[in-house]
C-alpha cells in the first residue's frame, strides 16, 4: 500500500510542480490522468525515488521512502517516459544489465527470469537483436520486461502507450492487466481511454494539484444526466470556447467543457444541471467528460469534485 501525504515540490525555476498531493493506492491498477505539464512525471519520479520533494511524505508498506529510498528500490519496477536505450546492446544484454543492478546476482535465477519475461512480453524470438532497432511497440514491451525484473511490488508506468498502434496498445494493456493482481501498478497517462479500460481507481491531476480522485465509475456517475452536447458552426466557435461560463435559459450557469468533431461536424459538450437551450441534446457522461471538466481552472464543476483530504468518493 502506497500512502502519499501532503507532497509538495517547487523547482528552482519557480514552477510549482506538486501542490499538496494526497493519495492512497492499494494493489491493482491505479490511473493518474492529466494533461502534459500537469506534474504527473514529477510525481512519478518522486515516487520512483529519483527526486526528493520539498515537503511531504511517501510510505510504502510502512517504509518511509524519502528517507530510505533503497527499501523501495529493491521492490520497484519503473518504466519511464521517453524510455531510451543504449545504442548497442541486445535485449538479452540490457535485461541482464538491469537484472544485476536490481540485485538478481545469481546467474541461473537471472537467466530463467530474463528468458521467462521475454516470453511473457513476446520478445523471445528477438532477444538477440539490438534493442535500439526495435519498433515502438517492441520497445515498450521491453520496457515492461525490465520493469518486471526481480518481482517488483510497485510498478510505475509513465506514458507507456504514446506512439503505439491499436494492436500493440491492446497487447500492452493485457500485459499490464495480468500483472496487476498482487502488485501496485500506477499508470500515468494523458490517454483517457487507457484509464477507462484498465484502472479500478484513478486520480486526475492538473497544474500540480489532484483535482479529482476515485473509481472511474463513481466519477462518471457524478456527471450523469448533466452532460449536454450541441452541434455548432464555425462562427459560433468564439462563443463556445471550453471553459466559458454561459447562462442557462433559466438563469443558472453551465460550462462548456470540450469541443470536438464528430463525423466532421463541430460539437461542444457542456455540464449543466438542466438543459441549457433547445438545441442542446442530452449526452451520456463518460470519463472524458470527467477529465475535461476536471481540468478546467476554477470552474463550478471543479468545485463540486474537489478533493477532500484523503477521502475518496465512496462507491455508489
Amino acid at each position: 500500500m502506497l500512502s502519499i501525504k501532503k507532497l509538495n515540490h517547487t523547482y528552482s525555476n519557480g514552477v510549482n510542480a506538486l501542490q499538496n498531493i494526497n493519495l492512497s493506492i492499494n494493489n491493482g491498477m491505479f490511473g493518474l490522468l492529466g494533461p502534459n505539464g500537469a506534474g504527473k512525471s514529477t510525481l512519478m519520479r518522486t515516487i520512483a525515488t529519483l527526486q526528493s520533494p520539498a515537503s511531504g511524505s511517501i510510505l510504502f508498506d510502512g517504509n518511509n521512502i524519502i528517507q530510505q529510498p533503497e527499501k523501495l528500490r529493491q521492490v520497484l519496477g519503473y518504466l519511464p517516459q521517453d524510455f531510451g536505450v543504449y545504442p548497442r546492446g541486445s535485449a538479452l544484454e540490457l535485461l541482464d544489465h538491469i537484472a544485476v543492478l536490481k540485485g538478481v546476482v545469481e546467474p541461473r535465477i537471472r537467466k530463467k527470469m530474463i528468458e521467462g519475461l521475454l516470453v511473457e512480453t513476446n520478445l523471445y524470438h528477438e532477444r538477440k537483436r539490438n534493442v535500439a532497432s526495435f519498433s515502438g511497440g517492441m520497445r515498450q514491451r521491453f520496457g515492461i520486461a525490465q520493469a518486471l525484473l526481480g518481482q517488483p511490488k510497485l510498478i510505475i508506468v509513465d506514458e507507456p502507450t504514446a506512439g503505439l498502434d491499436p494492436e500493440e496498445r491492446n497487447r500492452f494493456h493485457n500485459l499490464l492487466a495480468e500483472i496487476s493482481q498482487e502488485v501496485v501498478v500506477i499508470l500515468s497517462t494523458h490517454i483517457v481511454e487507457d484509464v477507462a479500460h484498465l484502472c479500478s481507481k484513478m486520480a486526475i491531476m492538473t497544474s500540480g494539484k489532484i483535482v479529482s480522485k476515485g473509481a472511474p465509475g463513481n466519477l462518471i456517475s457524478h456527471f450523469q444526466d448533466r452532460i449536454w452536447k450541441k452541434a455548432i458552426t464555425k462562427s459560433e466557435l468564439n462563443r463556445y470556447q471550453p471553459g466559458n461560463q454561459k447562462q442557462n435559459r433559466n438563469g443558472s450557469q453551465y460550462q462548456v467543457i470540450s469541443e470536438q468533431r464528430i463525423a466532421g461536424q463541430r460539437h461542444i459538450r457542456v455540464v449543466s444541471d438542466s438543459q441549457p437551450a433547445d438545441d442542446f441534446v442530452a449526452a451520456k457522461a463518460n470519463l472524458e467528460d470527467v477529465y475535461f471538466a476536471s481540468i478546467q481552472p476554477e470552474s463550478k464543476t471543479q468545485s463540486e469534485s474537489n478533493t477532500h483530504s484523503g477521502v475518496d468518493h465512496a462507491s455508489a
Binding site: 528552482s12 519520479r45 520512483a48 525515488t49 529519483l50 527526486q51 526528493s52 533503497e70 528500490r73 529493491q74 520497484l76 519503473y78 518504466l79 519511464p80 521517453d82 524510455f83 531510451g84 536505450v85 543504449y86 548497442r88 541486445s90 544489465h97 538491469i98 544485476v100 543492478l101 536490481k102 540485485g103 538478481v104 546476482v105 545469481e106 535465477i109 537471472r110 530463467k112 527470469m113 528468458e115 521467462g116 519475461l117 521475454l118 516470453v119 511473457e120 523471445y124 524470438h125 528477438e126 538477440k128 537483436r129 539490438n130 535500439a132 532497432s133 525490465q146 526481480g150 518481482q151
Partner: protein, 1216 residues
C-alpha cells in the same frame, strides 16, 4: 550553384561556432607568441641566432602548427556531417531535393573554408608579432608578408586539405566522431613512423616536416636566416598528397548516400538482425519458459527473504548490501572493462602506443649504433611511451564510462534500481584502473619478449612489479579519480573532458611559463625524477617519488569522497548544486575519512617541504640563475688580481656512503708563479660544502661569504714571486633527505664518485658557477662571455685549461670508506689498513699530475693484468662483466701502441673504474679512468657493430698522454690537443685491431656529429685549431681531419710529429701546449706541398663537394674492364656562420671500385676490387681506371677523407 549555397551556409554556421572562435584564438596566439616572445621558444626554433622570422623559422614553425592543427580539424570537418544525424535533422534534410554530391561538397567546402580562415590566423599572428613593442629585436629580421603567404598557401593548406579529406572520409563512412579523432592520430602516427626510413619518409609525410628537415639538415646559420626552400624541392610531395586528398574526397562522394547514412547507423543492428535469431520455440517450450519464470521469481523471493531474516536475526547488519552488492560490483567491473576493450578506438590507441613503445625498446642506442643490453631497468624507461595511452583512457574513457547512463535516456531506469551509489562509482573507477593495468601488463610482456629474443634472462620481476605496476601507475590512478570528479561535476561529456584538458594545460603552464617547479605544486604530473642504477641498488632515489605519491593519494582520496557526495542519482541538478554537495559531508564515517586524508596530505606535504626546501634549499631554474648572476657580479671585479697557483695537494678524504656524507681535510701548497707580489688570496669553495676550518699562516681572514662560500685572506707580509704558502682547510658535505629536482648522485651507498670540484676550493672566481648562456646573461644584465681566450693570448698560455688556478701538482691522499668497500683515487696504492670500523687507503702520485682527481668507493670486483710493467686494473660491480674482456683488450692494445707512438706511460697502474649509471660518460683522471655503468658496462656489442667499449677505453687511455702529461693552455684550440689527438690515437688502435672498414663506419658517425653540430652552433663555427669548447668540432671534425692527415703524410710520419710534440710539452707549464705549437711543428716536418693542406685542415673551415656525375664500364679485349668516370670536385671555405666561397680544387683523391655497394653495412675487404689515388686540379675531370674484375660500383673518396655535406652522390652504381 547548390553546392556553393550549402557551402556558404556551412561557412556562416561555422564562423559563429565555439570551435571556430576557440581555434582562431589558439592559432593567432600561438603564431603571435612565436615571434613576439621568440626568446621563449628557441629550443623549438633551433638556437639563438636563427631569426625567429627567417624563412626557415617561419616554415618550420608553421609546419609544426599545422601538425597541432590536426586535432582541431575534426571539430570543423567532422561536425559538418555529424550534426545532421546527431540532431536528427537528417530526415528533414535528406528528403529535400538536394543531391548527395552537392550536399557533401557543400558541407566539406564550407567546413574547410572555415578551417582555412581560422588557420590563416597563425601566420598572421606570426607576422604581427614582429611589431609587438616588447619583442626581442635581436631575434627578428626583416618582415615580409609574402613568405607567410607562400608557406600558408603552398605548404599548410595542402597539408590541412589532406587531413580534412581523410577525416571527412572517416566520418562519412562511420558517422561517428571518434573515428575522426582516430584519423588525426593515424596521420600523425604515419609521420612519426616514417621518420625511421629516410628515403621513403620524404614522401610518406603529409605535413612535409620530414622532407623539410631533410632538405635543411646540414644548413648553417646563414642559410637558416636567408634561404627559402625552393618550391621545386617539395612540389612533388605536395602534388602527391593533394592528389591523395582529392582521391579520398572522391571516395567519400562515392561511398555516401542518404540511405546509407541511416543504414550505417543501424549497420550493426542490421548485421545482427538477420543472423542467429535462433529457431522459433514451440508452444510447449514457451510454456516451459513461463514456468521457469515463476520458479525463478520464487527462488529470488526466497533468497531475498533469507537475507531479510538474517538481518532480523541480527546475523548481518544489512545483508543485502554485502552479499548482493559485492557480486554486483564484480559483474559491473567486468562489464565496463569489456566494453572498453571491445571498443575499436581503444584498440587503435593502445596498439599505437605499444608500437611506439616497441620501437623504443628495440632502439636503446648508447653511442654510434651500439645498443645497451636489454636490462629491465633500461627497458622500464620505454614505458613512458605508454603514457599517451593512459591519458587517452583517462580523458576519453572516463567520460565515456561515467556518462554512459547519465548521457542516455536509460539513466532513470538505472537510478531507480536498488544498486547503491558506491557500486556504480567504484565499479566504474576500478574498471578504468584495471584497463590501465592491462595496458601496462601488455607493455611488460613486450619488454620480456625483447629480453627473451636477445637471449637475456635476468627478468628482475620485482622491478616490473614495483616500478612498472605500482610506482608508475599510481599517478594515473590519481588522475583517473580527478577525471571522474570532473565528469561528475560537469554538465556534459564534452565539458568533463574539457575540464581535464584545462588541468593538463595548467600543469604545463606552471612549469613552462611560471617556472614553479616545486614538487608540492604537482598532482600526478609531472613525473618526479627517480634515476636507477643496478650498481647502487635501484631504489636510493625513490624517496621523493614515494612521498609525492602519498601526497597525491591523499588528495585523490579527498576527490573520491567528493565524487561520492556529488554523485547525481535521479535528479537533474545544476553544476553548482553538485559542487556544493561534493563539499558536504553527512556521515560520521565520511568526516573521519576526510580528516584522515587531510592529515595524510598535510603530513606528506610537510615532510616533502622539509626535505626539499629546508634540508635542500630548493630553487627554481630562474632562482638558480639569479644566484649565479649575483655571484658573478659580486666577485668578477677581483679577477684581475694576481693569485698564487696550487702546486701540491695533500688531502684526507673520509667517505661515509651510508650517511651520504664526506669530510675533507686538506693542505694545499700555494706558489706565486707570477712576477708580482700578492697581497690577498681568494678562495671559492664548493657552495654545498660546510667549511669548518680555513687557515692560512701569516694571513688574516678578511671576509667570509656564508652564502657563496667565498673567503678573502689578506697577507700580513705580501707574497713574493716564487714563494710558497701552505693553506689548510676542512669541510664536510652532506646530502640529506631528498631534493626537489634531479638528485645529486655523487655520494651514494655503493658507487660514490666525487671529484676535485667537490673537495677543493678554487683560487679566485669559480668559473663553473658563471652563467654560460649569453642570452640568459642578458636577462641579468651581464655582458657576453667568451668560451675561451684567444689563441694568441700569451698570458693564458701559462694557465692550464683544466685548472687555471693550478699547475702540475704533487699529490697524495688518504681516503677512508666503510668496511666492505674499496676507496680509489689517483696514484699508487702505498698503504692500506682497517681501523675503528673504517677502511683506509693511502695513494701517492709518483709523477706530477694535473690538479684534477677523483675519489671513488664501492664494493668492487677487481680484474688485474700486468702489461709492459704496468698493472691494468678494472674495478667493476660484480656480474657487470659483460664487456670486461674488451675493455682489458683496449687497455693492453692502447698501452702498446701509444708507448711506441707518442712516449712513455708514466704511472704504475692503468685503472678503469665503474661508477653508477646515473650519468653517462667516461673520464680520464691521471692513471685512473672512470667509466659509467650505463655507458660502457651495459653495452651490447653485436656482430658487425663497432666495439665501442674498446674504442672508448682506447680514447680515455690516449688522454693519459693528451690531457694528463701534455696539458693544453687556457686558450682556444685546447680541445684540438686533448680530444682530437685522443680520437686519432684511438682510431689508430681501432684500425690495427679491426681494419679500415670499421674505421670508415666510425667516421660516418663522426661526420654526422660534425655536420649536425655545426647547424646548431648559434655562436658560429671555429676552425679546428681554434676550437672553443665545441664538441662537434674537437670530437667529430678532429677525428676526420687527423685521420685524413695520416692518410696524406703517412702514419709513421704523423706519429713522429706527435712524439716530438709530446717530448716538447709533456709536464710543461710555462707554457702549456697550444695548437699553434703543434701546427708549427707540423709545418717544419712535412713537405712543402702539404702546407696548403695544413691550412685547409686546421686553420680554415673547409668543405668539399665531390660527385660522380657519370660512369660506364667498357670490356677490353684482354678480358679486363675499363671504367670511365666523370667527376665533379669542388672545395669551399665556410665562414663562422656558414657563408661559403668556392676555392680551386687541387688535391689527391682516392677512388674505389667495388663489387658491392660501399654504403652497405655488410661491406668487407673482399668487396674492394681496386683503390686508386688520383691528383685532380679542376672542377670537372674524367678519369679512366682499368680493373680485372667487373665492378658494380665506383666511388669517390669512399673512406671519408674529405668532409662533405652530401655523400650520396659519391657512389655510382655502374650499369650492367
Amino acid at each position: 550553384m547548390q553546392a556553393l549555397r550549402i557551402a556558404l551556409f556551412e561557412l556562416k554556421y561555422s564562423l559563429s561556432s565555439v570551435q571556430f572562435i576557440g581555434a582562431s584564438l589558439l592559432f593567432f596566439s600561438l603564431g603571435f607568441l612565436l615571434t613576439a616572445n621568440a626568446g621563449e621558444f628557441t629550443s623549438v626554433s633551433n638556437g639563438e641566432v636563427v631569426l625567429a622570422n627567417s624563412p626557415y623559422s617561419i616554415t618550420h614553425l608553421l609546419i609544426r602548427i599545422s601538425m597541432l592543427a590536426t586535432f582541431v580539424v575534426p571539430s570543423f570537418i567532422a561536425n559538418t556531417i555529424i550534426k545532421d544525424t546527431r540532431y536528427k535533422f537528417d530526415s528533414i534534410l535528406f528528403s529535400t531535393p538536394i543531391s548527395e554530391k552537392n550536399y557533401l561538397s557543400g558541407r566539406f567546402l564550407g567546413g574547410f573554408a572555415a578551417l582555412s580562415i581560422s588557420l590563416f590566423l597563425a601566420p598572421l599572428g606570426m607576422y604581427l608579432g614582429v611589431y609587438w613593442p616588447w619583442a626581442e629585436q635581436s631575434l627578428l629580421g626583416p618582415n615580409s608578408l609574402s613568405i607567410y603567404l607562400s608557406v600558408y598557401c603552398y605548404i599548410l593548406l595542402p597539408s590541412i586539405f589532406v587531413v580534412s579529406t581523410f577525416i571527412f572520409l572517416a566520418v562519412v563512412v562511420s558517422q561517428k566522431m571518434i573515428y575522426a579523432y582516430l584519423s588525426s592520430m593515424l596521420l600523425l602516427g604515419l609521420f612519426s613512423l616514417s621518420a625511421f626510413n629516410d628515403s621513403l619518409s620524404a614522401h610518406l609525410d603529409p605535413f612535409m616536416l620530414d622532407l623539410f628537415m631533410q632538405i635543411t639538415e646540414y644548413w648553417t646559420v646563414i642559410e637558416f636566416n636567408k634561404n627559402t626552400v625552393a618550391y621545386s624541392a617539395y612540389a612533388s610531395n605536395r602534388i602527391i598528397w593533394i592528389s591523395i586528398g582529392v582521391f579520398a574526397f572522391a571516395l567519400s562522394l562515392l561511398l555516401f548516400s542518404f540511405d546509407k547514412v541511416k543504414s550505417v547507423l543501424n549497420n550493426e543492428q542490421v548485421k545482427k538482425a538477420e543472423h542467429d535469431l535462433g529457431a522459433r520455440l514451440t508452444a510447449k517450450q514457451l510454456a516451459f519458459k513461463k514456468q521457469q519464470l515463476l520458479l525463478a521469481n520464487e527462488q529470488y523471493s526466497a533468497s531475498v527473504n533469507d537475507i531479510h531474516n538474517a538481518n532480523n536475526n541480527g546475523k548481518e547488519k544489512d545483508g543485502w548490501l554485502s552479499r548482493v552488492t559485492t557480486k554486483q560490483f564484480g559483474l559491473r567491473c567486468r562489464h565496463e572493462m569489456l566494453t572498453v576493450f571491445k571498443s575499436i578506438p581503444f584498440v587503435i590507441l593502445v596498439g599505437f602506443s605499444l608500437l611506439m613503445m616497441w620501437m623504443s625498446l628495440t632502439n636503446r642506442e648508447i653511442v654510434h649504433g651500439v645498443l645497451s643490453l636489454p636490462l629491465t631497468s633500461v627497458l622500464i624507461d620505454s614505458f613512458s611511451y605508454l603514457v599517451p595511452a593512459y591519458l587517452g583512457v583517462i580523458i576519453f574513457y572516463t567520460a565515456e564510462i561515467f556518462w554512459r547512463e547519465r548521457g542516455s535516456d536509460f539513466s532513470a531506469v538505472v537510478d531507480a534500481t536498488p544498486t547503491p551509489n558506491w557500486v556504480f562509482v567504484l565499479s566504474k573507477l576500478v574498471s578504468l584502473l584495471l584497463v590501465i593495468v592491462v595496458i601496462k601488463l601488455i607493455g611488460i610482456l613486450l619488454a620480456i619478449t625483447v629480453q627473451l629474443s636477445s637471449g637475456y634472462y635476468q627478468f628482475e620481476f620485482e622491478l616490473y612489479f614495483f616500478i612498472g605496476l605500482l610506482y608508475d601507475l599510481i599517478p594515473f590512478f590519481c588522475l583517473a579519480i580527478l577525471a571522474s570528479l570532473f565528469n561528475v561535476l560537469a554538465n556534459s561529456r564534452m565539458m568533463g573532458m574539457a575540464f581535464f584538458g584545462l588541468f593538463m594545460l595548467a600543469v604545463m603552464a606552471t612549469r613552462d611559463l611560471f617556472d614553479w617547479d616545486h614538487p608540492l605544486i604537482s598532482f600526478a604530473l609531472p613525473a618526479m625524477p627517480s634515476p636507477m642504477s643496478e650498481m647502487n641498488g635501484y631504489f636510493e632515489f625513490f624517496s621523493l617519488g614515494i612521498w609525492a605519491r602519498i601526497y597525491w593519494i591523499a588528495l585523490a582520496g579527498i576527490f573520491l569522497m567528493m565524487v561520492f557526495s556529488a554523485w547525481p542519482r535521479g535528479q537533474e541538478t545544476s553544476m553548482l548544486t553538485r559542487l556544493k554537495s561534493s563539499l558536504t559531508m553527512n556521515s560520521k564515517e565520511s568526516k573521519l575519512a576526510f580528516s584522515g586524508l587531510l592529515m595524510m596530505f598535510v603530513a606528506a606535504g610537510t615532510y616533502i617541504y622539509y626535505n626539499v626546501s629546508i634540508l635542500n634549499h630548493h630553487m627554481s631554474e630562474s632562482e638558480k640563475e639569479f644566484v649565479q648572476a649575483e655571484y658573478e657580479k659580486k666577485y668578477i671585479g677581483y679577477s684581475h688580481l694576481p693569485m698564487p697557483k696550487i702546486t701540491a695537494v695533500s688531502s684526507r678524504v673520509d667517505l661515509f656512503p651510508s650517511q651520504r656524507k664526506f669530510v675533507v681535510n686538506s693542505e694545499l701548497t700555494l706558489t706565486n708563479q707570477t712576477a708580482q707580489t700578492i697581497n690577498e688570496i681568494h678562495f671559492s669553495f664548493p657552495v654545498e660544502a660546510n667549511i669548518t676550518n680555513a687557515t692560512l699562516p701569516g694571513a688574516k681572514l678578511q671576509s667570509k661569504d656564508p652564502r657563496f662560500k667565498y673567503f678573502i685572506f689578506t697577507l700580513d707580509t705580501p707574497m713574493l714571486p716564487g714563494h710558497s704558502l701552505a693553506f689548510q682547510y676542512s669541510l664536510s658535505t652532506e646530502y640529506p633527505g631528498f631534493s626537489g629536482g634531479s638528485p645529486s648522485t655523487n655520494l651514494v651507498k655503493n658507487g660514490s664518485f666525487i671529484m676535485s670540484t667537490h673537495t677543493d676550493p678554487s683560487i679566485g672566481l669559480q668559473t663553473d658557477y658563471l652563467l654560460k648562456d649569453n642570452r640568459t646573461r642578458k636577462n641579468y644584465r651581464l655582458d657576453d662571455i667568451k668560451r675561451r681566450a684567444r689563441l694568441e693570448d700569451k698570458v693564458e698560455h701559462n694557465n692550464s685549461v683544466i685548472r687555471p688556478d693550478s699547475d702540475f701538482i704533487r699529490f697524495e691522499t688518504l681516503v677512508s670508506t666503510e668496511i666492505g668497500q674499496t676507496a680509489i683515487s689517483v696514484g699508487n696504492l702505498v698503504d692500506e689498513w682497517q681501523e675503528s670500523g673504517r677502511h683506509y687507503f693511502q695513494y701517492q702520485a709518483s709523477v706530477p699530475i694535473t690538479n684534477f682527481v677523483s675519489y671513488l668507493s664501492a664494493n668492487y670486483q677487481i680484474k688485474r693484468k700486468m702489461v709492459m710493467g704496468v698493472e691494468a686494473q678494472i674495478f667493476y660491480h660484480p656480474n657487470h662483466d659483460h664487456n670486461i674482456e674488451r675493455m682489458m683488450a683496449g687497455i693492453v692494445d692502447s698501452l702498446a701502441y701509444y708507448s711506441e707512438a707518442f712516449g712513455g706511460y708514466p704511472y704504475q697502474q692503468a685503472r678503469l673504474v665503474e661508477f653508477p649509471g646515473y650519468q653517462n660518460f667516461a673520464k680520464a683522471f691521471p692513471g685512473t679512468i672512470t667509466f659509467s655503468e650505463s655507458f660502457g658496462f651495459s653495452a651490447d656489442v653485436r656482430a658487425g657493430e663497432l666495439d665501442m667499449p674498446y674504442y672508448i677505453v682506447a680514447h680515455e687511455m690516449a688522454h693519459q698522454w693528451w690531457g694528463n702529461q701534455v696539458i693544453a693552455a687556457n686558450v682556444e684550440g685546447d680541445g684540438f690537443i686533448h680530444e682530437s689527438f685522443s680520437q686519432y690515437a684511438a682510431l689508430m688502435v681501432m684500425e690495427k685491431t679491426f681494419g679500415k672498414i670499421k674505421v670508415k663506419k666510425f667516421l660516418e658517425f663522426e661526420l654526422e656529429r660534425y655536420l649536425t653540430g655545426r647547424a646548431k652552433d648559434h655562436r658560429g663555427e671555429n676552425p679546428l685549431a681554434r676550437v672553443a669548447s665545441q664538441k662537434y668540432i674537437h670530437y667529430g671534425k678532429g677525428a676526420l681531419v687527423l685521420y685524413a692527415l695520416k692518410q696524406k703524410i703517412g702514419e709513421e710520419k704523423l706519429n713522429d710529429i706527435f712524439k716530438q710534440f709530446f717530448q716538447q710539452r709533456a709536464f710543461s707549464s710555462k707554457p702549456y701546449a697550444t695548437s699553434l705549437d703543434f701546427i708549427e711543428l707540423l709545418r717544419n716536418n712535412i713537405e712543402e706541398r702539404f702546407h696548403p693542406l695544413v691550412v685547409d685542415l686546421f686553420e680554415k673551415i673547409t668543405l668539399y663537394d665531390l660527385e660522380i656525375i657519370d660512369a660506364l664500364v667498357t670490356p677490353l679485349k684482354d678480358g679486363r674492364f675499363q671504367v670511365t668516370v666523370d667527376v665533379k670536385t669542388r672545395k669551399l671555405y665556410a665562414d663562422k656562420f656558414g657563408e661559403e666561397t668556392v676555392q680551386p680544387f687541387d688535391d689527391e683523391i682516392e677512388f674505389g671500385l667495388f663489387s658491392a655497394s660501399p654504403s652497405s653495412d655488410n661491406l668487407s675487404e673482399q668487396h674492394i676490387l681496386q683503390m686508386e689515388t688520383v691528383k685532380i686540379s679542376s672542377e670537372k675531370t674524367q678519369l679512366i681506371m682499368i680493373v680485372t674484375e667487373r665492378p658494380k660500383f665506383v666511388a669517390i673518396d669512399p673512406f671519408f677523407h674529405f668532409i662533405e655535406r652530401e655523400r650520396e652522390n659519391n657512389v655510382f652504381s655502374l650499369p650492367e
